[in-house]
Amino acid sequence: MTISPTLDRRTLLKTLGIGAVGVAGIPLLSACTGGSGPAGGSGSKTMTFGSSASDDVPKRAYQAVVDAFQKKEGATVTVNTVSHNDFQNKINSYLQGSPDDAFTWFAGYRMQYYAGKGLLAPVDDVWKQIGGNFSDALKKASTGPDGKMYFVPNYNYPWGFFYRKSFWAQKGYTVPTTFDELKTLAAKMKADGIIPIGFADKDGWPAMGTFDYINMRLNGYQFHVDLCAHKESWNQPKVQAVFDTWKALLPYQDPGALGQTWQDAAQLLGQKKTGMYLLGSFVTQQFTDKATLDDIDFFPFPAIAVEGQDSIEAPIDGLLLSKKGGDSQVAKDFLQFMGTPEAQNTYYSVDTSNIATAKGADTSKFSPLNKKCADAIANAKNISQFFDRDALPAMANNVMIPALQSFIKDGTVDIKNLESQAATLYAAQ
């Protein structure tokens, strides 16, 4: 057999060249890793808990809950903490691989979707014990598409307008309860040389809050849920009306929105450069100065057409059982524990930036602002979960972000195109 050295080198180089071509196709397999943990057998008082609470404060808060549970039940809980971005990005493969018995997740469509695919275990028996601790709105948010209970809420945080009390008192502004009052107030602020409504959408998602609220106030909570789940078409006058209504507000929102993050916009509110800011209550994390923090107040999104101010956007974080975890009594006990005021007090004792969901949780340590937020949630008839939790993530990230950013830019939106994109994306599920 003869081998020509040149030919040989050439084949090798060719292969290398083709290799460079193939690199473009690599991202496909990037999601093919599964989480793994020791299996928790039923009865053996051990279980695993997958936590996406990777930041320091929430991590310690969940550890406190786990410690309290272990002490109470004499069980052993192995906690596997994963950074929250990774956790969310790999949830598909995580649930299909060997997931932990219990894990942290959200209420809403993103919970119902996996429940519908049979990847979660229902916890109706747990809810028989803890049902009395939660409002109807929370119960509704914890229900799967088959009517069974899947989710146990831990905490939530409301979205609404935040403003500086002293600044408003000084200028003589009053809290608006209707959309017309809001527009009148905004016009007054603009005349006073202030940017009326703080706004930031460089990251794409914060503008969904404005969309959700105008949609719910115009068309009702159920329409919001159905639109997010694509049971309602995007190509209809009701959706156009949302954007038309928003357009009246657009001149009062910070024109620099597309270049700043919510953290930047929070600073502007603190510096009294903007009059008010529609965001989740996590905005208060940005006010490290205690005097400023104590000066921050909250009011719910004003009423527009239907249901007054009945609905509130308050994304709920809590726990789910994986399909495998459904066989573990300890894991069920853990979820039940999470649904008690006792466990939620333990959580709040470490992480005070969120609001416990269980009735009877200790509110005596709440700041006046937190109390107000908690009341707003408790009085709400419906709790929405924010667009990117109520809708298909691809719809939120790939369709809504570009659509809202271009709407903010020039006030135009193509609802027909939104519908055709939604049809394709939801059909792929």
């Binding site: 050439r10 196709g25 496909l28 659509a403």
Partner: protein, 303 residues
């Protein structure tokens, strides 16, 4: 004239075994990590799949491609931006790199220091690049607006947020990187040019410009081809800078950013993402085929 019989070399059994192993292992690695994923990607671009169960894969014909071309608003802006990126790198960044290389090749004092400075951006991590340009372009506290005297004023240009200017801001950042890369390659190329060529040109009365453009530059032909291919590939791969600015939205759409958006993470739509990846693959094939035919075509002629 009788043909000369080719010299035949016998390989020992061991040689053959070694050669087989050396060829087989890389081929296998190529197959598993490159070829199969590529083929899977192409295959999946003709399906709809939620990424959960293999039985959920449904054929979709060319509908994903139709979706991308007709219904997905960021796609055509992304194509335009990729073309703009290519033109900008070819017209501004690459000549700038060549200029730097020629200047630094003059044995000026501190040449190595300058080389390191210009090459540094190529080695910096994604996060650092983001921080550096944020400091530069930030609307209210950024260096650029400060120098322009508009920082903190309503007239300040929002370099990252204004979709009319942010692509140019990103292109300047890309040039900052690309020029350093090109400079290094050309420095190596210039060192490889036989000095006697320059001497001969000088003796023939050529001035510096003529010497460079008529003698030195053509002598660097192999490097020039590499640079052309690198410039094209860089413009197709362009991703990191727009991703750190705003993940490739609002005027910074690029095909590669759309591939990531649709394939990785929560916004995963496997069919659409695979279709975008396949489109990028087909476009990438053009410069690669060009490069391979130039390289191997020449080799075939010489052998």
């Amino acid at each position: 004239m009788p043909t000369i019989p080719r010299k035949v070399r016998r390989l020992s059994k061991r040689d053959r075994l070694v050669l087989t192993v050396m060829v087989a292992i890389p081929t296998l690695i190529q197959l598993v990590f490159v070829w199969l994923p590529t083929l899977f990607s192409i295959g999946l671009s003709f399906t709809r799949w939620n990424g959960l169960d293999l039985t959920d894969i449904r054929p979709a014909g060319a509908s994903n491609y139709q979706f991308v071309a007709q219904e997905y608003p960021p796609f055509w802006p992304a194509v335009q931006h990729n073309v703009l990126w290519l033109v900008f790198l070819a017209v501004v960044a690459t000549p700038l790199g060549l200029l730097l290389a020629v200047l630094l090749d003059q044995n000026i004092r501190g040449s190595r220091l300058y080389q390191s400075i210009f090459f540094a951006p190529v080695m910096l991590s994604l996060a650092l690049v983001g921080v550096i340009w944020q400091l530069f372009y930030q609307r209210d506290h950024g260096l650029l607006n400060f120098l322009l005297g508009t920082a903190g004023q309503p007239s300040a240009v929002d370099w990252f947020g204004d979709s009319n200017v942010n692509i140019w801001a990103a292109l300047v950042a890309a040039t900052w990187r690309h020029a350093g890369y090109v400079m290094l390659l050309y420095l190596a190329g210039l060192k490889g040019v036989d000095p006697s060529l320059k001497e001969a040109a000088a003796l023939d009365g050529a001035n510096a410009g003529q010497t460079f453009f008529r003698v030195v530059f053509p002598a660097m032909r192999p490097i020039n081809i590499v640079i052309v291919v690198i410039t094209i590939i860089e413009s197709l791969r362009a991703f990191d800078i727009v991703y750190v600015i705003n993940r490739g939205t609002n005027g910074l759409e690029l095909i590669s950013a759309l591939v990531i958006q649709n394939l990785v993470g929560e916004g995963q739509v496997i069919g659409v993402g695979s279709a975008l990846a396949t489109i990028l693959l087909v476009i990438s094939l053009v410069p690669i085929v060009f490069y391979l035919t130039r390289t191997f075509g020449k080799e075939a002629k010489e052998s």
